[in-house]
């Protein structure tokens, strides 16, 4: 099964406008043929298990954009689901460049799998360069604090950072607010073991309720694109105002998504 490439994945990846060199690589290590394999594996594992639904795909503009969702679920399943629906269900298909945590490049094997599939180290200059190259990036402005939320904090938002807004202003990129419903229930963390996290140099160490992710249904809601103008290097208070507008829309999308959900599973 691992060797077989899904024909729909292959078609979607072949249609991508991403620039690659004569050996098939871009500078970050994305490779269409390898990506086909890993997206096929992802599709076969995640789609039947989490059965993602999606709304608002028509809101995705053409060209560069920052997708800004809530973050949850301890593991980056939400990022993978967004990447999967944007590739498989959007028309035209989009390759979402996920911004990974700074310790990912240190992980043997995983680092290569992620970079061949299009993931990139979460660094402002990487984001800027990708946006200037008209690519799609997904940024979780809550950072690791967002994915490490415990059960009582589910579907609340940790404070958004300002970096994504400065990038959007600098590169004149639209922001697509997004809500992911389901992540909070897939891996329920009852406690964040902070002393263990400090010991291992991890952002958090969850105590999960179950030893594996639950087969919760995921719902992805894309909001209408938001365009901002102004100086990217403006004072923090000015940027904060704009950031707040985005986080408010994400909150509304979460509320809408939760209201529309009839069952967790």
């Amino acid at each position: 099964m691992l060797r077989a490439i899904d024909p729909d994945v292959a078609r979607a990846i072949d249609s991508l406008p991403n620039k690659v060199n004569e050996l098939g690589y871009d500078a970050w290590g994305f490779h269409k043929e390898r990506a086909k394999l890993w997206y096929s594996v992802g599709k076969r594992l995640l789609t039947p298990y989490f059965r993602p639904t999606v709304s608002g795909l028509e809101n995705l503009p053409l060209g560069r954009m920052l997708i800004v969702p809530n973050h949850s679920g301890q593991l980056p399943i939400d990022g993978m689901i967004i990447a999967l629906v944007a590739l498989m269900q959007a028309e035209p298909p989009r390759l979402v460049r996920a911004m990974v945590e700074r310790w990912f490049p240190r992980l043997p094997f995983i680092n290569e799998l992620f970079s061949r599939s299009g993931a990139v180290l979460g660094d402002p200059i990487n984001c800027r360069n990708l946006l200037l190259d008209d690519q799609v990036i997904v940024v979780f402005p809550e950072g690791a604090k967002g994915s490490g939320k415990v059960w009582k904090e589910r579907y609340t938002l940790k404070p958004f950072g300002r970096g994504f807004m400065r990038l959007a202003l600098q590169t004149e990129s639209p922001i697509v607010p997004c809500a992911v419903i389901g992540g909070e229930e897939s891996i329920i963390s009852i406690h964040n073991w902070k002393s263990a996290a400090r010991l291992f140099g991890m952002p958090y160490v969850p105590i999960p309720l179950t030893p594996f992710p639950l087969p919760v249904q995921f719902h992805v809601h894309f909001g209408e694109p938001m365009r901002f103008s102004g100086r990217f290097d403006d004072e923090d208070s000015v940027i904060d105002e704009k950031v707040k507008q985005v986080s408010e829309v994400v909150k509304l999308l979460i509320a809408k998504g939760l209201a529309e959900r009839t069952s967790v599973f």
Partner: protein
């Protein structure tokens, strides 16, 4: 006739640059602290760049252009020797350039000073920090040489100075560590790591040096070569057999037994992808040798298998 003085003339790159200049009918003289043999087409001097003998070379040659390609890159040389030649010697060369009215100075630095680091963004430009020293302080001489030459650009505007930071240089005449690694038939590889890498052919770099001499701009420039590719793909092109081993074993082995500089291991683990967009824009240079030919040319001198 304008004479160009080239340091490091015992090396393959300097000799390629000299040959290209001679083909264009320009005057060339070479100097090296090492013994140089087999060159009849132009005068060659033996002088350490940090000693008074180099002063006499400048008096005899009266160069209008100096190409300082003679940095000691081999980190298995003692740090004291590298410091004397790379830092004290380069400082002396630069001072002599001002004293003798040299118009153009090209200094060959290296992309190694950026360091291969898990937090490196892509691509690295000339304005980015030099991280190598944080994990490998022994590279201080290369960083200091680069910093000194970069400061020189603005301190002494009478000499148009261009500092080049090329990526891995390979080719039939190059004998640096990377070329030696590629020429082996079988090498251990760090299991689970396959970073993006770049290579530039010796002829492309030689043309870049000449473009820097003949251009009008001054500054620090990366030279990245044709295409970026994963390390293992490079090894497939050179038909090098790979033996995957845990990185910790390889790192320990290199630190304990090998003459290979330990910091080089990081370049097989994390990416250090640079951009040469500025050099292409300012000097109209482009690489002519594609990545496959670049890599294959490096292993032309591979010893026959037993």
């Amino acid at each position: 006739m304008t004479t160009t003085l080239i340091t490091g003339i015992a090396g393959g790159l300097a000799q390629r640059v000299a040959a290209m200049l001679l083909e264009d009918g320009e005057g060339v003289a070479g100097v090296d602290y090492r013994e140089t043999t087999g060159i009849d087409a132009y005068p060659v001097y033996r002088a350490s760049y940090d000693k008074t003998a180099i002063e006499d070379v400048f008096r005899k040659v009266s160069p209008k252009r100096v190409l300082h390609l003679g940095r000691v890159g081999n980190l298995s040389e003692p740090i004291e020797k590298r410091f004397e030649i790379n830092v004290i010697g380069s400082q002396k060369l630069m001072r002599l350039c001002v004293q003798h009215g040299v118009e153009v100075l090209v200094v060959l630095s290296t992309f190694h000073i950026y360091g291969a680091h898990p937090r490196n963004h892509v691509p690295i430009s000339e304005d980015d920090p030099l991280r190598a020293g944080t994990s490998f302080p022994e590279i201080a001489d290369a960083i200091q040489l680069d910093n000194m030459a970069s400061t020189w650009i603005y301190k002494h505007p009478s000499v148009r100075t261009v500092v080049l930071r090329p990526t891995n240089v390979v080719g039939p005449n190059i004998t640096n560590t990377m070329s030696k690694v590629l020429r082996r038939r079988r090498i251990p590889a760090l299991a689970g790591y396959n970073p993006m890498t770049q290579f530039v052919h010796e002829d492309d770099l030689a043309r870049a040096v000449i473009a820097a001499v003949r251009g009008k701009e001054r500054g620090v420039y990366n030279i990245a070569g044709p295409s970026v590719l994963p390390w293992r793909t490079a090894l497939e092109i050179t038909e090098t057999q790979v033996v995957p081993m845990p990185s910790i074993l390889i790192e320990r082995y290199v630190r304990t037994f090998s003459r290979l500089p330990a910091y080089l291991i990081r370049f097989f683990k994390y990416p250090c992808v640079i951009t040469d967009a500025a050099f292409r824009r300012d000097f109209g240079w482009e690489s002519r040798v594609d990545i496959t030919e670049t890599l294959r040319s490096a292993v032309d001198r591979r010893p026959p298998s037993r």
